[in-house]
């Protein structure tokens, strides 16, 4: 009971006000993201309403805003182009199912393998994709469009210097719409982009054949949507956690995103996830509780359904200005400054994530590249932290080797090369008490060292294996088994 009160009703006035600001900012975004995905504006608007309302109840991070997003929209373009809207709705439902499974198996913990550089790369790539998606609206157009976009940006960034009481993107849209209607400008409007909602959404089942072929078509998209959706949601949750200095329930958020997407698919909406920009706007406007997310969704639907005629008159140039603001706000400009200060490997991971995403238009591919590269760099870094020291004893008859550091696939060769097998010696002691053997490759390397010494007629003793390493060695090593020499051939 306490947590319900805390999550919902501890900050009512500010939550409602912030919800209103967010709803106003959501309208252009939902329309623009629908256009990016290649569907009618109403698909994004229904999705944004539905996802915001459902996640308000089911999500694990109060105060975070989820709706139709650019990150998800760029994934669906090809599916919509090749198979149509109904397949997108089916893929949306399947995405939800996969996200619920991800939440149940606690996939949220996998976020710890996504380094800060990958996250920054993801955010920057997302900002660039949002910006690039605006370019078709800015190419082969008259100067009026450029002037309108510039005026829009002027109002968005200028108005807050005069007053912060009203959302400046909304004022920009209203002013530009009125101006364009009064002057009768012949430029593209939202109405030209497709159908707007004129009624409340209704329940419908995606009209696709329920067979294996359909699954084959939608599954790859759903998997990517699941990954991108969860990644952006987890990242946004971390950002909101930091801003509000409170904790979120990441696994509940995964399940919540899934439930929201299933609901969205069944009312004819596209898949969505948490939104970095909108969540920042919400927190900035004073929103902290679940009520802010719920009210954002409800205000959005009310405004769109009842002000549909006006919404269709909004010039696309005004939306472009808002989206440029979103991309500027999403991009981490600080990351450019820190390129020169951060370790080279971190910068390479960040830039690679951005490059792969922008080139493939696939955020999942970019993140995967970043995660793999981080892994490789980490292995390389840790692999170099291995030293083998030695000292001779017993008038040159014995040599003591002391191994310090981590022995695993990346450092195994270095480990093997660190011993002098040709030294004429009777006995070798290898002290591994200050090292750790992590994998089969490490155990094989130890085998190799022991057997190489034995071939020279040298007695070998391995000392101080820690418990975990000893278990590995017991299980997989051959040097301590009688037929070791024959088995080594198999390695």
């Amino acid at each position: 009971m306490d947590s319900i009160k805390q999550d919902w009703f501890s900050n009512v006035r500010n939550d409602l006000l912030a919800g209103l600001v967010v709803a106003l900012a959501l309208i252009p975004e939902a329309i623009a993201f629908s256009i990016i995905a290649g569907v009618d504006p109403k698909i994004g608007l229904y999705a944004s309403f539905c996802i915001a309302v459902v996640i308000a109840f089911a999500g694990g991070r109060p105060g975070m805003i989820s709706a139709a997003t650019a990150a998800m929209a760029v994934v669906m373009v090809t599916l919509v182009k090749e198979h149509g809207l109904q397949y997108l709705l089916a893929a949306t439902v399947l995405t939800g199912v996969l996200q619920i499974i991800a939440g149940w198996v606690r996939l949220g913990v996998l976020m710890r393998f996504v380094s800060k550089s990958v996250v920054t790369g993801f955010v920057n790539a997302l900002a660039i994709l949002i910006f690039m998606a605006q370019l078709p609206e800015l190419t082969n157009v008259t100067w009026h469009v450029y002037a309108m976009t510039a005026a829009g940006l002027g109002i968005i960034y200028g108005l807050p210097y005069l007053t912060k009481a009203v959302p400046s993107p909304l004022i920009a849209i209203v002013v530009l719409t009125i101006f364009s209607m009064l002057v009768g400008l012949d430029i593209r409007t939202v109405g030209d982009m497709g159908e707007l909602p004129d009624s409340l959404p209704v329940f419908l089942i995606p009209d696709v054949p329920f067979n294996f072929e359909t699954l084959q078509i939608i599954l790859p998209y759903s998997l990517t949507l699941m990954m991108v959706g969860l990644l952006e949601s987890m990242m946004t949750a971390t950002i909101v956690d930091d801003l509000t200095d409170t904790k979120s329930n990441k696994n509940r958020e995964c399940v919540g995103q899934g439930v929201a997407n299933i609901a969205s698919g069944f009312i004819g909406g596209m898949a969505g996830c948490a939104m970095i920009g909108q969540s920042v706007i919400n927190i900035k406007s004073g929103g902290r509780g679940r009520l802010s997310t719920l009210s954002a969704g409800i205000f959005l639907l009310i405004m769109v359904v009842f002000l549909g005629d006006w919404v269709s008159q909004i010039p696309m140039a005004a939306l472009v200005a808002v989206m440029i603001m979103v991309s500027i706000g999403t991009f981490s400009w600080g990351s450019l400054r820190s390129l020169k200060d951060h370790p080279k490997s971190s910068s390479v991971v960040m830039v690679a994530t951005v490059l792969v995403t922008v080139l493939t238009h696939d955020l999942a591919m970019g993140v995967l590249t970043g995660v793999l590269l981080s892994g490789v760099f980490f292995a390389a870094k840790v692999g170099t932290i291995l030293t083998v020291e030695s000292v001779s004893e017993d008038e040159g008859r014995t040599r003591n080797y002391v191994v310090l550091g981590q022995v695993f696939f990346a450092s195994a060769d270095q480990f093997v090369d660190a011993f002098d097998y040709k030294e004429v010696i009777e006995r070798v002691r290898i002290d591994v008490s200050r090292s750790h053997f992590w994998d089969i490759t490490a155990v094989t390397a130890l085998d190799k060292v022991v057997l190489k010494f034995r071939r020279e007629g040298t007695e070998v003793e391995v000392l101080g294996l820690n418990e975990a390493s000893a278990t590995m060695v017991d299980k997989f090593a051959v040097h301590d088994k009688s037929d070791g020499r024959d088995m080594l051939v198999g390695h």
Partner: protein, 291 residues
């Protein structure tokens, strides 16, 4: 200063803090135990305020916002911390004035539940107000923390209400169950009521007639307490325990009640209501909850 086996008084900035301190100081004297006053700053209760509804995202908005919010929090937190320290020191003086030689104070961020759980191994008795800082506004009979706190803690908890009355007569609500038998044993072996007359009341269905089981249980309680040197009086009452206990408190001029608490699951309490909550609501005197 000793820090184990202490009396932990949970205080918030409400009029009940004085009463909690007085009872905690009384228990500390009786038990010759160290006393600590705990004040928890529940940061979740802070409501945000924002003048910026511009909805505009500029360069590095997120970083700027984080810096701005951190600065605001820092200022607010410092004020709250200072207020809390002054408040605790006033209470500390109050406790020292009752004759205690040492009283420790502790202020913690977070929730009360977390704060008491962190210390649970070094505490022998908790003292808390039945209502908290929001009591006057919400008109609640029982503060929202009380039940969750009592369910989590395994040590005895002394819940107090509006004023401090030095206990002179004690009533044990006894129903023969394992929990109340443990409570009787606990009281028999404790110093807290040493020298005070103890009344044991069995009320409700069990007390009806002259069932041999009820007789045996009552006799067991009487003997257990008498052996420990208490002046014991036993009473049986047929009827609703809540009403009978309230009546006995009035008739016998009782000023402290001891009883078992929340032996049923929270789900059962949700459906059928909780007897402990009902009793706490009806009893206006300090109540020792035994777990």
């Amino acid at each position: 200063m000793r820090t184990d086996n202490k009396i932990l008084a949970c205080v918030d900035q409400s009029p009940y803090a004085n009463v909690v301190t007085d009872y905690a100081a009384w228990a500390a004297r009786k038990l010759d135990a160290p006393l600590e006053l705990l004040h928890v700053i529940d940061r979740d209760s802070e409501v945000t305020e924002s003048e910026d509804h511009s909805g505009a995202l500029g360069l590095d908005t997120q970083e700027q916002l984080l810096t701005e919010l951190t600065q605001k929090d820092q200022i607010r937190r410092k004020v709250v911390r200072d207020q809390g320290r002054i408040f605790l020191n006033v209470l500390r003086e109050r406790a020292l004035a009752t004759g205690l030689s040492e009283v420790d104070v502790r202020q913690r961020m977070g929730t009360l539940l977390e704060a008491v759980q962190v210390q649970k191994d070094s505490v022998r008795l908790y003292v808390l107000g039945r209502r908290g800082a929001s009591g006057d506004r919400t008109q609640r009979d029982i503060g929202r923390h009380v039940e969750s706190l009592v369910r989590v803690l395994k040590q005895p908890i002394l819940t107090v209400s509006n004023e401090f009355v030095e206990p002179r007569r004690v009533l044990i609500a006894f129903d023969g169950t394992q929990m109340t038998r443990r409570g009787v044993a606990m009281i028999a072996s404790s110093q807290i009521f040493r020298g005070l007359p103890i009344h044991v009341l069995m009320a409700g269905q069990k007390a009806a007639g002259t069932t041999s089981a009820a007789d045996r249980q009552m006799e067991w309680a009487r003997q257990r307490l008498a052996q420990a040197g208490f002046d014991v009086h036993t009473h049986r009452a047929q009827g609703d325990p809540e009403i009978e206990i309230a009546k006995a408190i009035q008739d016998l001029e009782i000023d402290m009640l001891a009883m078992g608490a929340y032996s049923h699951s929270p789900w059962r309490s949700l459906v059928f209501g909780s007897r402990t909550t009902d009793l706490l609501r009806s009893a206006t005197i300090a109540t020792l909850l035994l777990r």
